[in-house]
């Protein structure tokens, strides 16, 4: 009898733990797929979009370069201004010094990925090294293992963000790279219509759109007349940089830059920029 009671009690405890594990969000993390994709046909816009995917995907940059303060938040800062001041810093002794701007950015960015300790942004060094040693791993060796073409794409993406001319070459015809889909958990296929994007990221839950009536964020009808494409991009990627008057900062998630695919963001921007006060286009 005692035995039975003790057994039942232990089973109940065990069951409680198991249930708890099952009610939490379930994410399966798959290894990155290793099939090759053809890159030869990539144009500049495609290269930049690929760089952006690498930034949050295979490159795992956003693990640290985010607003938590582990590393400089590159997507939130004025990249051009920041890079300029770093290259001019007397502490900087790398190869980008004295070069023409766009080229200097390319050299600096590549250097920072391959030899992160050449220049350490003040306050971001390894503990106890007085900012002489960077905690950042080299991106061209495992576990990140970016290929030279991928590093080029990343630089193109960052140069684009800094608003300078893009100086890295496009991938040569016949180049292939490993597809990085699925690196961070199971990914769905990208959305292909604005409705799908809006549905997937729940925009209408906070913004009034097509009569959803939500009022946590500004209504989106006519948004294209108020903000241009670039301002819209900023408002989505870094929502708290500028908050529409009368609305609370901090409500809109700041991680859409990581959640959305570049192609989805472009679809969404096209759609929003088209909402210019007239009838919303389908």
């Amino acid at each position: 009898m005692t035995f039975l009671r003790v057994t039942l009690f232990s089973l109940a405890v065990l069951l409680a733990y198991t249930l708890f594990a099952n009610i939490l969000p379930q994410v399966q993390s798959n290894p990155p797929a290793e099939e090759e994709i053809e890159l030869g046909s990539l144009d500049r816009a495609g290269q930049i979009a690929w760089g952006e995917r690498l930034f949050s995907g295979k490159g795992t940059c956003t693990l640290c370069h985010n607003k938590l303060g582990r590393a400089p938040d590159m997507l939130a800062m004025d990249l051009a201004e920041e890079l300029r001041s770093r290259i001019e810093d007397p502490r900087y002794t790398g190869a980008a010094k004295g070069l023409e701007e766009a080229e200097a950015f390319e050299v600096y960015l590549r250097e920072s990925m391959l030899e992160p300790s050449v220049y350490v942004v003040p306050g971001f060094g390894k503990k106890g090294t007085q900012d002489r040693e960077s905690p950042m791993p080299r991106v061209d060796v495992p576990p990140i293992s970016l290929t030279p073409t991928e590093i080029d794409a990343l630089i193109a993406f960052l140069q684009d963000r800094a608003g300078v001319e893009i100086t890295v070459p496009l991938p040569a015809a016949g180049t292939t790279a490993a597809a990085e889909a699925g690196a961070d958990g199971e990914e769905e296929a990208p959305a292909t219509t604005p409705e799908e994007v809006i549905d997937r990221y729940g925009c209408a839950a906070c913004h009034d759109l097509d009569g959803s009536g939500a009022d946590l964020g500004p209504p989106l009808a006519g948004i294209g007349a108020r903000l241009d494409r670039e301002a819209l991009r900023r408002a989505i990627l870094d929502p708290d940089a500028e908050v529409a008057p009368g609305y609370e900062p901090g409500l809109m998630p700041g991680d859409f830059g990581e959640q959305m695919r570049a192609s989805e963001l472009e679809i969404l921007l096209d759609y929003l920029a088209g909402l210019d006060g007239g009838e919303p286009k389908p």
Binding site: T2, L14, Y17, F20, V27, Q28, L63, G69, D184, A205
Partner: protein, 584 residues
Amino acid sequence: MKWRLLLCGLAAVGLAVVLPHFGLAAEDPGAPAPSPTAADYPRIAGMTGRPVVWALAQMHLFLAAFVLAVPMFVVAIELTGVLTRDERYDRMAHEFMKISMAAYAFTALTGGALALALFLFYPVLMGYLLRVFDGQVLIYALLFILESLLLYVYFYTWNALRYGDRKWIHLSIGVLLNAVGTTLMFVANAWATFMMAPSGVDEAGTPLGSVWAAMQGPLWNPLNLHRFLANIAYGGAIVGAYAAYRFLAARTAEERAHYDWMGYTANFIAILGFLPLPFAGYWLMAEIYAYSQQMGITAMGGVLAWLFIIQAVLIGSILLAANYYLWCGLMRTEGGRRFVPWVKYIAAVLVAGFLVWVTPHTLILTPQEVLAIGGTNHPLLGPLGIMPAKNTAVNMMLLATFLSFQLFRRASRTPTVPWAWIGNCVIAALYLAATLNIVGAGIYGYVTPTVYKVGASVPQVLSTLAVIVFALVIEAFMYRGAVTRPVAWGRMSTRSQYALFVLPVAFTWLMALMGYIRSSVRTYWHVYTIMKDRSPDAYIPTIGEAGNFITVITLVFMAVIVFIFWLSQVGDTRQQAPAAEGGR
């Protein structure tokens, strides 16, 4: 007894024979790490390798942790018995050892099965590991044989080497047994940490020729300490359950008293091993971050982050159960009753800490839920989700547990030194100062960037440790020559014993969960950055999937433990000789 010996012997010989054989099959010792393809992972009877290896490895670790831990505190209890000349200690130590002996055969059995499964399912990986660790498997096999020998000698000479100088010989054998056992574990740990953070090989995985360098990875010592402490806590929890069961099944008052006391001692050992465990875990995690930020973030901020919420629930239930048991124990003495009013405050701290700990960091919500809450974090509870709050909570919970424990110790003793009131004031001031420091550092961590958050958690941890160390030292002096009041062993409620069952169940499940995390931070690598896992099982399963698997392993382990308890009990019973046939 003989069949157990035979079983161990067979497993040991099997290990010694099988392992080097595979070693010989390895190719050029100076080659880089091989790169297995999907074809290198055989399916056997439709099974892929991971579930088999996972289950066997976890079973082996449960049993090994138990079998390695018990001799450690058994030697300590035996020594206490010699020093206090109290026969009860010796009897209890012997009884603990008896349980452990029955488990030893199963440990060897699962160990052998694990080795076999590894070589069958992951031949390329094992070939590479053998190449890196060279002849070390032979040393491991030798150590294993030595461990078996010492264990049997230690157990079977117990009554032969009972008093005087002979007792010291027996104790020495015990110490030697523990030295061998700990070395054995450290060697096996080196293999696990090599896979997580390889050292002693170049970037392509070519061994640089020194096995010692391959062992000394950055995670080796943190893992050694963590497992060492966890084993003690785990061993204590399991023998506690044994004592609780015997207590509940006891028929005489004398038996009840004995098993009550045994359960108390086991619970004490479990808490003793458990209290410093979060700090060892902190060191391990800090070393993981130092080795690879990515690996650290995968564990604490990525796919696996939710597991630490489960961990918190488990640790919370362990602390609550252990405290509840201590509070019930206050009723054993007349002196304990005056502390009962304190219990509700300690309970309040524990529950508050527990609630902070289960508050998730970021919730994954549907847009409608986001709308209802007004953001991805609750406006009021959101701040409780971040690390400084959790660190503050765990330290406060540990302080509360230590306070419970101190009250319990005071319940049966009254100090006689004249400065006792000063000592009490100093200890009270220590608690207050430490609490302020912990809460202060927590707030400091709130308003500062991440580096400070991490930095500020170290003073918190040190504050808790300082309370434990200084309070124990002061009390050691304060209670010299103290008047001890009789403890009514056996005067325990039935309900209190169930707390002793929560501990092993939670510990077992927790151990498997943490094993899953430790293994998963390698993501899709066999040997991190050096050898990719290209098997169909290279993904990290969902928490629910892992949880179900862990529950199944835990159930099997519980069945094995019940069988072991039964074995050690059945050894005591003797069938009555059939009565002589009457008449004729």
